[in-house]
């Protein structure tokens, strides 16, 4: 018996994952090569090992995909709603059946810990399909006394932080309401979307109802501009969201944007501190902080600042960073070199601006992209690390004295996606929730999601809601 009890490596097996050397795009129910013949490589960010070659779609491919979706729309939108529901239920069930494969793939391609992809991403993705399958033949109850019609072809562009889950958030409501889809996964994380295409084949989804095209920003730009697209749904950076909005202005296309955030996680002095610590850790270090609704600004009431920071620093020491496939890993790899560079730049700015840096003392693997859990104290509202979205495991801590000051600081940001309130006082939670300009306000918890709960932002965090009855509205024409 050694003096310490260390956990042995517990890597999840990759046996059930079959990564092909190169992939086609899924257009009109078949796998097609890119017209340009051009491919890009997708890697495992934890090892920098190349996993597969992915097609780069150009104008011709986008044309084909949108044409296939337009053609499929004619039948799909006329299908009895209970039939559509049946397909969506089947998709949900196959996601559950193939959940281990999808979780391992998500972790290999994106760098997130297997415990998160296994316990959160994949189960929630399945839950979204189940939930929306239920709505498909009940839309008249979602919108009583209204005529409900689908829009047509939805162009959907999703980010790299929750690849399959964001796909589910986009595709499930679109299909349930009778639309067809052309979806582009993020360039760094296409593998679960392409596996999802094989699930569409497996459940016998009619060709063209779901099309998956791959590529980088240019491909996405072509897709949203395509004249036969009636609806654009985008999740990603505020910068790109603005570009999309400019590009499609005046086209009559419906648009929903789910963009960046700089959420305030507000801890009052009467909060249950140990649970608040878990909420803070989950708020900012979950998925390496690659979360648009991450609680990246911690606002602490002055009276508990010392106690809370001491507890937080100790907790940082117990976070396990390393092999994302290890079942005991808490912090995985940063998704890409580009993102790592951005995190490093902003952390550098934090140091330059005079904030005090604290990092967990954990060794980083040699290969791959890694960043240790980081906490900045002594942060001012004017610091870049309090203003800009870092999208990494970096927490900026500020203090406040009164609830009014907490609200003022929390709302003093161009974003407005989420917020957290920690207090034992129920009345204060309601008082805060009334005043916080954020699409989601979590009370004594953080980063909890449910398909029935609408998600979306204020201000530069975007508009439109995903999930719940509100989420359906983005995919229907009501008259």
């Amino acid at each position: 018996m050694s003096s310490t009890w260390d956990y042995s490596p517990a890597p999840e097996s990759t046996d059930m994952v079959d990564i092909r050397g190169d992939y086609g795009m899924f257009i009109d129910g078949t796998w097609s090569e890119p017209a340009s013949g051009e491919y890009m490589k997708t890697i495992n960010p934890a090892t920098e090992e190349v996993l597969a070659a992915i097609p780069v779609a150009d104008e011709t491919d986008i044309d084909q995909a949108v044409a296939a979706a337009s053609k499929a729309f004619k039948k799909w939108s006329k299908l009895p709603a209970s039939e559509r529901a049946r397909y969506i239920f089947r998709i949900a069930r196959v996601i559950q059946e193939r959940s281990r494969e999808l979780a391992v793939l998500e972790t290999m391609n994106g760098g997130k810990p297997i415990k998160e992809s296994r316990d959160l991403d994949i189960p929630l993705a399945a839950a979204h399909f189940f939930y929306h399958a239920g709505w498909a033949d009940k839309l008249e109850y979602a919108f009583p006394a209204r005529k409900v019609e689908p829009l047509g072809v939805a162009a959907q562009i999703i980010p790299w932080n929750f690849p399959l889950l964001m796909l589910a958030w986009k595709i499930a409501p679109a299909l349930a309401t009778g639309n067809t889809v052309v979806l582009k996964p993020a360039e760094t994380t296409p593998l679960t979307a392409l596996t999802f295409a094989s699930i569409c084949e497996q459940v016998g989804l009619p060709p063209g109802v779901v099309n998956i095209v791959t590529g980088a920003g240019a491909t996405g730009a072509m897709l949203v501009r395509h004249p036969d697209v009636q609806k654009v749904a985008f999740t990603g950076s505020t910068e790109v969201g603005k570009e999309i909005q400019r590009a499609i202005a005046g086209s009559g296309k419906r648009l929903t944007l789910e963009l960046g955030g700089k959420a305030a996680n507000i801890v009052f002095d009467d909060a249950p501190l140990d649970q608040a610590i878990e909420g803070i850790v989950n708020g900012i270090f979950f998925n390496q902080g690659h979360v648009c609704c991450a609680g990246s600004r911690l606002l602490v009431q002055e009276g508990v600042f010392d106690a809370l920071i001491a507890k937080l620093k100790r907790r940082l020491g117990t976070l396990r960073l390393g092999d994302p496939l290890d079942k005991n890993t808490d912090i995985g790899a940063i998704n890409s070199r580009q993102q790592l560079d951005k995190i490093k730049e902003l952390v550098g700015a934090g140091i330059d601006e005079g904030a005090e840096l604290y990092q967990a003392d954990c060794p980083l693997p040699e290969r791959g992209f890694w960043f240790p859990p980081t906490v900045f104290t002594g942060v001012s509202q004017s610091h870049r690390i309090a203003r800009e979205e870092i999208f990494g495991p970096v927490l900026s801590v500020l203090t406040f004295r009164t609830p009014e000051e907490a609200v003022e600081k929390a709302n003093n940001t161009p974003f407005g996606l989420s917020a957290g309130v920690w207090t034992e006082k129920g009345s204060r939670i309601l008082w805060m929730a009334d005043r916080l300009k954020a699409g989601v306000v979590w009370a004594n918890t953080f980063n909890r999601f449910d398909p029935a709960s609408p998600f979306g932002g204020y201000k530069e965090s975007g508009f439109g809601r995903e999930g719940g009855r509100h989420g359906l509205e983005a995919y229907v024409r009501l008259s």
């Binding site: 140990d274 878990e278 034992e424």
Partner: protein, 304 residues
């Protein structure tokens, strides 16, 4: 180290518990995957932290002889298996057990204070402690007065634990909170702080006589209270979980909670105990499974 002499310290530490958050934390720690060497080490550690327990009306000298043998050599003929931490029994059998376990390294732990209800006059409860210690008990597991605590009379609980500690003299005092009767995590935290402030050397979840007994979230909440008490006073109070812990898997989950909440310093029989009876055989069976890859016939493990 500041002296801990009154309820003030419990008040100063204070704090509250969010039930949803505490349960989430426990559930999250329960997903830790303990494999290979870590599993073997964990199982051996669990054996060393075991309070092998029998607390039945039917307990007899014969039963104590059997368990005393088992406590010293859980796996006959296998020297790699350590002895357990203590044998936990009723006071009447202490002198016998003390004789049997003399110089074995296995401590004699006796429940006292009208276990499990605690519903006897204080004088009688204190005499019970004194008698058990005089008979050779190294450790005394007392029960707190849940009635007084739930009625808001923390002073009474404090005074009783304090008096029990005094009555126990050199013996190690474990205060049983009977968490299943306290009704909320907030009260579990509060009772933990009161018992520690009053001088308990270890705080213990349950008597094992009522349900629910020990649960993972209760252990999380109590471990957090112990940690906060250590931060405030420097004292390292032990944790004992008891009641309903039958599988090696559960035992490992408690070890994970202790490791990740209190740290490696608490992973020792001096600061962590698992009260159990049937657990020990499952630990032995899982250890054999790790070594041989096969589950053995249950009859290879002694039923005592």
């Amino acid at each position: 180290m500041p002296t801990v002499s009154d309820l003030e310290i419990a008040n100063a530490i204070g704090g509250s518990v969010d039930a949803v958050g505490a349960e989430l934390r426990a559930a999250s720690l329960a997903t830790r995957s303990i494999k290979k060497e870590a599993k073997v080490e964990g199982l051996l550690l669990a054996v060393r932290c075991c309070d092998l327990t029998t607390l039945e009306g039917s307990d007899s000298p014969g039963k104590i002889r059997q368990l005393a043998a088992k406590a010293q050599r859980p796996a006959p003929g296998d020297a790699s298996i350590p002895h357990v931490a203590a044998l936990c029994i009723y006071p009447r059998l202490v002198s016998l057990a003390a004789g049997l376990l003399k110089d074995s390294g296995v401590k004699v732990a006796s429940v006292a204070t009208a276990f499990p209800s605690g519903q006897a006059p204080l004088r009688a409860r204190l005499e019970e402690i004194e008698r058990a210690v005089a008979d050779g008990a190294d450790e005394i597991d007392i029960v707190i007065s849940r009635g007084a605590f739930l009625a808001g009379d923390e002073e009474a609980v404090f005074e009783e634990v304090s008096a029990s500690k005094q009555a126990a003299g050199p013996a190690h005092v474990k205060a049983i909170l009977e968490t299943g009767e306290l009704g909320s995590y907030d009260r579990v935290r509060r009772a933990s702080l009161v018992a520690m402030a009053a001088g308990a050397d270890t705080i213990k979840t349950s008597t094992g006589k009522i349900s629910p007994a020990s649960t993972l979230p209760m252990a999380v909440v109590m471990a957090e209270a112990i940690r906060d008490f250590h931060d405030a006073t420097g004292a390292r109070i032990g944790l004992k979980v008891a009641g309903g812990i039958r599988s090696a898997k559960d035992a490992l989950r408690y070890l994970v909670i202790v490791k990740e909440t209190l740290g490696e310093e608490w992973l020792t029989p001096e600061r962590f105990r698992i009260g159990a009876s049937s657990l020990l055989n499952d630990l032995l069976m899982q250890l054999d499974k790790q070594r041989t890859g096969l589950y053995s016939d249950p009859d290879r493990y002694t039923l005592d």
